[in-house]
């Protein structure tokens, strides 16, 4: 099996690291979020051929992070989903659904 590589980065370095991945020819595979005791951990997965690199970013509960949708266009869907379901504050998403990507009858984000 081809295993993925995990790289921990600071949230302030996210945009520059994403830009570096773009320059190195990676494509965006997915973005996911996990709740931690103090906030969230986001995983930005990038692929090149069969290699998978996951940039792991710790985000405090009320901290804000920048969108990477202006670097990787498909990121807007993943980021809107994370805003919707987790309540992570992501700034400057290229197409911002303002927390309404999913039409959920119960209150979101889920805490």
């Amino acid at each position: 099996m081809i295993e993925g590589e995990n790289i921990k980065i600071e949230s302030g370095d996210l945009v520059s690291k994403a830009l570096q991945m773009k320059t190195d020819g990676y494509r965006l595979v997915q973005i996911s979020s996990v709740r931690t005791q103090t906030g969230y951990e986001l995983a930005y997965s990038f692929g090149k051929e069969y290699d998978l690199v996951n940039l792991r970013v710790e985000v405090e509960e009320d901290a804000e992070i920048m969108s990477i949708s202006h670097i990787f266009e498909p990121a807007f869907l993943y980021e809107n989903e994370i805003v919707d379901l987790f309540g992570v504050k992501i700034n400057l998403i290229s197409v911002d659904f303002k927390g309404k990507l999913y039409r959920i009858s119960t209150e979101t984000p889920f805490k």
Partner: protein
């Protein structure tokens, strides 16, 4: 001067088996922009991992999608097996490969039928689905279910396929292959079909890469990437080449999917010839230790990513599923730009959309 207007497309539409909405910005009959709107059938299946233990969640994963149900269950099991360091028996790996390819055949035939229906070729739709029924009958004979297989478990498989059954399946598949060759003549050679698919909805290799598309949609634009080559199940022991096209239009997507059906038939034959005797599951004791895994599998619609995080208890911290349709939506929006309004249904179909698994 052209007139600009916004036309809503979906969520209810004759060609859409599942709900997705697009706001299409038109200049006369030409689409200049499409804004997607999803979220009509979000079920919160990822959240359910907090209430179902890691074994029970296998059944939830299988219900994420009604078409590639088996591969969802298998991807989840493989991710947990990696965290628990469980090596499943060789026979189970081959069984997984065979059922995966049976799923791919029935999914692609379903898509061919829907495509034929979308451009109004009803007899082609009937023929595609008639063939699909044969595959569904085989799936029912081997698993007991037509759509939800429920044969996955962490550590292997719940059911086996006896030798006689496997040999019978190969014979039936040989017959299906003859029929599919006839059907292919119409799908790829008929003037009426070609006129609806050829030169419609181009996606270049660079766009497919940059927009993160996956599966046959991406491979039809010339990118040779297939997650079966990462080496899960018994695929490392199977000889197969990645099917691609360099054209990147709707016709190329149809061509790639048809050739993938033939390839799946060949993979099943190889797997049946090589499947060893033995156990179908490894006993698994205890709970998954703290850890995480990104599992990538090649579903009929493309690469699916299962992220599983365990904390040492019977409940997992997180299961996150990135489905192929979710990844293909941005590229779909790009292909819609510049197309004729009448081609929108065909183009939406050419990504083989599965909205229920997209929204989970």
């Amino acid at each position: 001067m052209s007139t600009r207007s916004v036309v809503p497309f979906g969520p209810q539409h004759p060609v859409l088996p599942e709900p997705i909405h697009l706001d299409l910005v038109l200049e006369d009959e030409k689409v200049v922009e499409a804004v997607p709107s999803i979220g009509f059938i979000h079920r919160g299946l990822e959240k359910l991992v907090e209430k179902k233990d890691f074994n029970e969640y296998t059944y939830v994963a299988e219900r994420i999608c009604g078409i590639c149900s088996y591969m969802h269950g298998m991807a989840y099991c493989e991710a947990v097996e990696h965290i628990m360091n469980v090596e499943i028996p060789e026979r189970a790996k081959y069984l997984r490969t065979i059922w995966c390819e049976m799923s791919r055949i029935h999914s692609h035939l379903l898509w061919l039928g829907l495509l034929a229906d979308a451009f109004g070729f009803e007899s082609l739709f009937y023929q595609s689905w008639r063939m699909r029924e044969k595959m569904l009958d085989m799936i029912e004979a081997s698993t007991g279910g037509r759509v939800i297989f429920s044969v996955n478990k962490i550590g292997g498989q719940l059911k086996d396929m006896p030798k006689d059954m496997l040999n019978d399946f190969v014979k039936q598949i040989d017959g299906m292959e003859v029929e599919l060759r006839e059907l292919t003549k119409t799908f790829l050679g008929d003037y009426a079909v070609e006129s609806r698919l050829r030169n419609v909805g181009f996606l270049t290799a660079q766009q497919a890469h940059d927009l993160g598309s996956v599966g046959p949609f991406m491979r039809a634009s010339g990118i040779a990437l297939d997650m079966r080559k990462t080496g899960y199940a018994a695929y490392p022991n199977i000889d197969f080449e990645i099917i691609t096209s360099t054209v990147g239009d709707s016709y190329a997507r149809t061509d790639v999917r048809i050739r993938e059906i033939f390839q799946s038939m060949d993979i099943i034959r190889q797997a049946v010839a090589k499947i060893p005797d033995g156990e179908i599951a490894t006993p698994v004791k205890g709970f998954p230790q703290a850890g995480e895994y990104f599992m990538r599998v090649e579903q009929p619609r493309g690469e699916a990513v299962y992220y599983v995080k365990a904390n040492g208890t019977k409940f997992l911290d997180r299961v996150r599923v990135r489905t192929p349709t979710f990844a293909n939506i941005p590229a779909l929006l790009e292909t819609l730009k510049g197309c004729q309004f009448a081609d929108v249904p065909i183009l939406v179909l050419t990504i083989d959309p599965c909205i229920s698994c997209t929204e989970r």
